[in-house]
């Protein structure tokens, strides 16, 4: 078995070396060079001493946290109630279906809905509320981000809750636990793995939603993702962009440690 397999795994190793390790090393490497190609620590010095970048980092983490918490709060009951329905697979597919529609199309829909004369403002108009500028606000950014991430939170939660044996709940009730006690002592702790993979699947991508901040958030550079895009595509200062990339990689490692390494990759 051995010799045969090793030979066929060569492309896999080429991939590991050239497209996993090399890019990470290159990003780290570039973060130590300035625009003229001289070795420097100035990128890091500037990052950690300027209020602008620290505020941006704080903002990114704060927004990603908000997005994660809001999706979790909406998703948990959804997943919980869905496990009690008949035709579970069908409902699951209805949750998955929106994820197959391009993210940009969904963001574009909200440009229409949140516009000054758009759907939401005319809806609010029925109640006598005057049209407001909804697009290009933090509120609209949050709503769209939550909307896009929602299925990615519901799916792992649904899987985790669905695996929970019904006999556990019956046993808990037999032993005299109330519904709330059963939920907090049995159901929730046992679904924690789903919560973890959901948080992983939502939090990290939320740090880098630069297209949303551009389209919905009003073109302001408020998150690290936008800052990277700006440094690489607009100002062409790759050293600085790479520095922020390194910070994002570190943030990712922190999240991975917090959410436990046991069940990596429960993305879909």
């Amino acid at each position: 078995m051995k010799k045969y397999n090793t030979l066929l795994a060569v492309p896999y190793f080429m991939w590991l070396i050239f497209f996993v390790l090399a890019p990470v090393l290159l990003v780290v490497g570039y973060s130590f060079f300035d625009q003229n190609g001289h070795f420097t620590l100035a990128n890091y010095a500037e990052y950690f001493s300027s209020g602008k970048y620290l505020l941006m980092t704080f903002n990114s983490v704060w927004y990603a946290l908000l997005i994660t918490v809001i999706t979790l709060v909406i998703s948990y009951p959804t997943a919980y109630f869905l496990t009690k329905l008949k035709h579970k697979d069908l409902w699951l597919l209805l949750i998955i279906l929106p994820t197959w529609i391009n993210l940009l199309l969904k963001a574009y829909a909200f440009i229409g809905i949140f516009g000054v004369h758009g759907g939401l403002n005319s809806f609010l108009g029925f109640f006598g509320i005057l049209p407001k500028q909804l697009l290009f606000t933090d509120f609209s950014f949050l709503v769209v981000a939550v909307y896009i991430q929602l299925p990615f939170m519901i799916i792992p939660l649904l899987n985790a809750l669905d695996e929970l044996p019904a006999s556990f709940i019956a046993a808990s009730k037999d032993l005299g636990a109330s519904a709330t006690q059963t939920f907090f002592k049995v159901v929730f702790p046992l679904s924690l793995n789903g919560v973890k993979s959901g948080v992983q699947a939502v939090f990290i991508p939320s740090l880098s939603l630069f297209m949303l901040t551009r389209l919905i958030g009003g073109n302001r550079v408020i998150t690290l993702g936008t800052a990277i895009e700006e440094h690489f595509m607009v100002t062409q200062n790759w050293g600085k962009g790479a520095t922020i990339g390194v910070v994002l990689i570190l943030a990712m490692i922190v999240v991975m440690i917090f959410t436990g390494e046991k069940k990596v990759g429960g993305k879909k």
């Binding site: 996993v20 390790l21 109630f81 197959w100 880098s208 993702g225 962009g241």
Partner: protein, 276 residues
């Protein structure tokens, strides 16, 4: 829980589903608008669809996007199958875990970081080899790269379920390694392989951030095109496109539902057969 029964749980679910589908139906609704905005519906018309089909630029981009998804998923699946087999057959548990963590780096990294690091990689390669520039090939390489770990993760659980005595039996009956792979392992893994291919395909179709970084000037995919058009403002041609995309996704979902249901039915029958 009966259907007719009124409950808060059902109301909650209805609200969540409305939230999930309202924006999509909003887009679809206005694709039939005779007017030019997403604000007021002035009358039914299909002229945004005819506009869409006569826009050859967009049709070519659409075909490119599908070609890219098809190719990248195919190549990633091939690489991933043998990667998963290699990881599975590693003897030391610690080696397996290390390799698996390396495998997962691209899944857990933020898109922007992947895109930026690939851009650096391709530009570096471009300075080493002349004639290597950003375009279709760099996008293809990038899409293959972020699809490989997904394929591996879809196949590994299947491998762990596999009964090793089947392979031993194959060897006992005189099969060589090639035959074992072709006649036992690959057929057994086929549900995982199909799922992996499917995932890689949808990831490729859906990707925006990575493509945006490595696409250069000559080549565009659908997401990048929508992004640049949406930045210019509302154009109902995009709505017409959304309607088609939604129908396509719906067909895929329904097809997938019936295939998976069929498989389940078959495997249940098989199990019953074994029990008897």
């Amino acid at each position: 829980m009966q259907k007719s029964k009124f409950s808060w749980a059902n109301i909650y679910l209805v609200c969540v589903f409305i939230f999930l589908y309202l924006p999509i139906f909003y887009l679809i609704f206005y694709s039939f608008n005779a007017g030019e905005t997403m604000n007021s519906f002035t009358g039914f018309s299909l002229h945004h669809f005819s506009e869409l089909f006569s826009d050859t630029h967009l049709v070519i981009i659409l075909l490119n996007t599908f070609l890219l998804a098809f190719l990248s998923a195919l190549i990633a699946t091939f690489i991933g199958i043998f990667g998963a087999l290699f990881i599975y057959y590693l003897k030391r548990r610690s080696h397996r875990n290390t390799l698996l963590s390396l495998n997962n780096i691209l899944i857990v990294s933020p898109d922007v970081t992947i895109g930026a690091s690939f851009l650096i990689l391709f530009i570096t390669l471009g300075t080493l080899f002349s004639g290597f520039s950003l375009g279709f090939w760099t996008v293809l390489l990038a899409h293959i790269s972020f699809s490989v770990p997904i394929v591996v993760l879809m196949i590994l659980p299947k491998l762990q379920e596999m009964n090793d005595s089947m392979i031993t039996a194959g060897y006992d009956l005189g099969a060589n390694e090639r035959q074992i792979l072709k006649n036992i392992i690959l057929p057994y893994l086929s549900p995982g392989i199909i799922a992996g291919y499917f995932m890689a395909f949808t990831y490729s179709l859906d990707d925006f951030a990575v493509t945006f970084f490595v696409t250069g000037n000559g080549f565009t995919t659908l997401s990048v095109e929508i992004y640049s058009r949406a930045r210019r403002g509302v154009s109902l041609e995009i709505n017409a496109l959304s309607t088609l995309v939604f129908l396509f996704a719906l067909v895929l979902v329904v097809g997938y539902y019936y295939i998976s249901k069929d498989n389940q039915g078959r495997s249940k029958k098989k199990k019953r057969g074994v029990l008897r």
